[in-house]
């Protein structure tokens, strides 16, 4: 062989070797695009919340305070009123026995009025019945019902269902004269699944013997937590001696403590939330059901259920997107040059700036 041919072969081999060595670098330069792909793995596009308080009468003040506190947290983390169905069975704020009219407090310090000026109760007083609750969940409401009373979820909605009141083994008492059984609730959730009304559902219940309420679930993608096991009572947390009533329940109190530390961009996981309120704090044992849920709760963000976080990540580097529409006529190198990257630090703005 002649010398130039050997030289050509060697250069070819060197180029091939170099390509093999540089390939990993080429792949790694695509990581930022992969990161974008990561954020759509949770699979949901919108969030709904159904918050129900089922007891009436002045001595059940704490149940109203429970549900209103969760309502405040959920609103603070981003779910708008149009996506929250709030059912409150009695009007504590305007009860003649309330020494502080037009307020509902969840703490003996009376710092936060969870009732406030902007609470939007969708089902109030005697409208909170088992029939209305099941109709809201399954969507079988008469067409004349106002839009704010519908649960307009679709197959990519994550729904938070929170229920509080008086319960027993296998049932939850509504108002004073009726009850919803765990079988009925499980069937309602199955109807929702069949009609593709949820993507994932988080069921939270704070009553006595709460575990019984989720024992009969059989639809997929449900994560459930209850404040007590069957045979245990859930206890209230403390009395406000100025009002003369118990103002909040233990499980909800510690759950709120956890939620208050979360911000809309929080990276806290559902796994951490499920561990809230160990036995020495709650006195009852918190029960959890994860077998119907397909993801690992430790990988699920808290805001997947409690907030309404749009999947936005602020990148500091620019991405070269393929230029498919612009032709060389309209854009020359001088006019469509790369913008300078601003070097100020960017942070996520609070969607609902709340007073501390």
């Amino acid at each position: 062989m002649s010398a130039p041919m050997i030289y050509q072969k060697i250069t070819k081999m060197i180029v091939i070797l170099l390509i093999f060595l540089c390939a990993p670098w080429l792949v790694l330069s695509n990581t930022s695009e992969e990161e974008i792909g990561e954020f759509f793995k949770s699979g949901h596009t919108n969030n709904w919340a159904v918050l129900v308080d089922t007891s009436r009468f002045w001595f059940n003040y704490r149940h109203v305070a429970n549900v209103l506190s969760i309502y405040r947290s959920v609103k603070r983390l981003g779910i708008p009123d149009s996506h929250i169905i709030l059912m409150v069975a009695d009007d504590m704020a305007c009860n003649p026995r309330n020494p502080r009219p037009a307020t509902v407090f969840n703490n003996a310090n009376q710092h936060i009025n969870v009732y406030g000026d902007d609470v939007e109760v969708d089902y109030r007083g005697y409208e909170v019945t088992v029939e209305n609750f099941i109709r809201v969940l399954t969507g079988r409401l008469p067409p004349s019902t106002p839009r704010s009373k519908h649960l307009l979820s679709d197959e990519r909605s994550n729904i938070l269902v929170y229920m509080t009141g008086h319960g027993g083994d296998g049932f939850l008492k509504f108002q004073d004269a009726e009850e919803v059984s765990n079988v009925e609730l499980a069937d309602a959730f199955e109807q929702m699944w069949q009609k593709r009304r949820y993507h994932e559902l988080f069921f939270m219940v704070d009553t006595c013997q709460a575990q019984s309420m989720f024992q009969r679930f059989y639809s997929p993608n449900i994560l459930a937590v209850a404040s007590s096991h069957v045979g245990e009572d859930s206890l209230s947390h403390h009395v406000d001696p100025a009002l003369g009533v118990y103002v909040i329940d233990r499980y909800t109190f510690y759950a709120l403590e956890f939620l208050e530390k979360a911000k809309p961009g929080s990276k806290k996981t559902m796994g951490q939330f499920l561990k809230v309120c160990p036995k020495y704090q709650c006195i009852s044992t918190v029960a959890v059901r994860t077998d119907l849920f397909q993801r690992d709760p430790n990988q699920v963000l808290l805001t997947d259920f409690f907030g309404s976080v749009r999947n936005v990540e602020i990148l500091l580097n620019t991405l070269a997107l393929p230029n498919i529409t612009l032709t060389s006529d309209t854009c020359s190198k001088s006019s469509c040059g790369n913008e300078e990257v601003s070097s100020r630090s960017l942070k996520y703005a609070d969607q609902f700036p709340m007073p501390v």
Binding site: W58, F59, P96, P99, P101, P241, L243, G244, Y246
Partner: protein, 396 residues
């Protein structure tokens, strides 16, 4: 064949009962009687508890700080009562209630006393009552605070003018609050139970045989509970609870428990029939003490007369009891009208939380002490055994 359907077995039983008839009767009677007495022994009876969840007794802090008000009313009233020995200062009391801004009324009634002289003349009487309307509620329900008006010449144990001072001071305090869900009726009755019956007749528009009362000029809703106060104007040492009503009827046990709990919160000594709880209930001494308390209560019930004005409310299904201030000779921590005002405020705050009439707890019970009770389920069986003695006697 069964024990009673088999004729041979039946004959055997009948023969046995006939043979030992006397013995069985005596045994049943004595056994039943002893069983009944044994019920005062602590392990055999039950501890009191609250059945009505809505009461939330003692949970709210007291807000009555106007001790000076009640003491000044007390002093003023004592001075008024000194002016005349034969008359109760009704006009003064009426004016005081009116000055507070409450709807105050006189209620006239007359009594035809059937046994005394003169037979055809009727004795006139006059009650005073004031209504405090609840600001944010619809006046569908009410609670009553009542005091019997007694002449200034009665002995110091029978005096009730401290109660009137408490009533005035509490009326002044309650009027400023917005958290009342029921109207409060302040009632002052002349001639004790007679005036009370006349007032109740006027309120519910019923008739009594010997008492003629006019219809009340103004009423409120249905009465849920009534507290009668017999508090003297001087300092006293314990609160006596009087429960027994007309024909032995009793108020709901929850009301008694409420008073005991609120008195405990105020660290006041509370007694039943002027006997406090024995400290050693499971020993023989304690048992004896409880037994005598229990028998006192039964004695009062057996007499059929109410022990206080509260006894007349029971016929209208209104739970009522009397709180009496009792002086004792042994020096103890003493209480005055200011303590009573706080106590009664606590009771009324708790009664305010009620949504329905008292219906959860027992109506038939006897109390060996303030914190133990014997329910009808416990005292009926020994009574049944005693009756069985007479049944055996008459049937065999």
């Amino acid at each position: 064949m069964g024990l009673l359907t088999d004729p041979k077995q039946r004959q055997k039983i009948i023969l046995a009962i006939t043979k030992y008839n006397q013995l069985l009767c005596v045994l049943c009677y004595v056994g039943g009687f002893l069983w009944f007495l044994a019920l005062a022994y602590q392990p055999l009876n039950a501890s009191t508890y609250f059945s009505e969840n809505a009461l939330l007794p003692g949970l709210v802090d007291y807000q009555f700080y106007a001790d000076s008000d009640v003491i000044s009313y007390n002093d003023q009233l004592t001075a008024e009562m000194k002016k005349s020995d034969k008359k109760v200062p009704k006009d003064w009391i009426f004016r005081k209630f009116q000055d507070l801004g409450l709807d105050t009324y006189y209620h006239n009634f007359s009594l035809n006393y059937p046994f005394g002289m003169p037979k055809d003349k009727s004795i006139p009487g006059q009650n005073i009552y004031a209504i405090l309307r609840a600001k944010r509620a619809a006046s569908t329900e009410a609670v009553v605070m009542s005091v019997p008006l007694r002449l200034p010449s009665v002995t110091s144990d029978e005096q009730t003018s401290g109660g009137i001072a408490v009533m005035l001071a509490l009326a002044k305090h309650f009027r400023k609050q917005t958290y009342w869900a029921k109207d409060i009726l302040f009632v002052l009755t002349e001639y004790d139970e007679i005036g009370m019956q006349a007032w109740l007749d006027g309120y519910h528009q019923t008739r009594s045989e010997y008492i003629h009362s006019e219809n009340l000029p103004a009423t409120s809703g249905s009465i849920q509970a009534a507290i009668n106060l017999e508090i003297p104007s001087e300092k006293f040492h314990s609160y006596n609870l009087k429960l027994e009503g007309l024909n032995g009827q009793l108020p709901n046990l929850d009301l008694s428990n409420l008073l005991v709990r609120i008195c405990g919160k105020e660290q006041a000594k509370v007694t039943l029939n002027k006997r406090s709880d024995a400290p050693n209930l499971d020993e023989f001494e304690g048992f004896q003490h409880s037994l005598i308390t229990m028998l006192h209560m039964m004695w009062n019930q057996a007499s059929g007369t109410p022990t206080g004005n509260h006894g007349l409310f029971h016929r209208y299904h209104i739970e009522a009891l009397t709180l009496q201030g009792v002086k004792e000779t042994r020096t103890r921590r003493s209480f005055g009208v200011e303590n009573t005002a706080r106590l009664v405020e606590g009771v009324f705050r708790s009664l305010n939380n009620l949504l329905e009439r008292f219906h959860q707890s027992f109506f038939f019970y006897i109390l060996p002490s303030t914190r133990r009770y014997v329910s009808i389920g416990l005292y009926m069986p020994p009574f049944g055994v005693m009756i069985a003695a007479s049944l055996i006697k008459i049937s065999f």
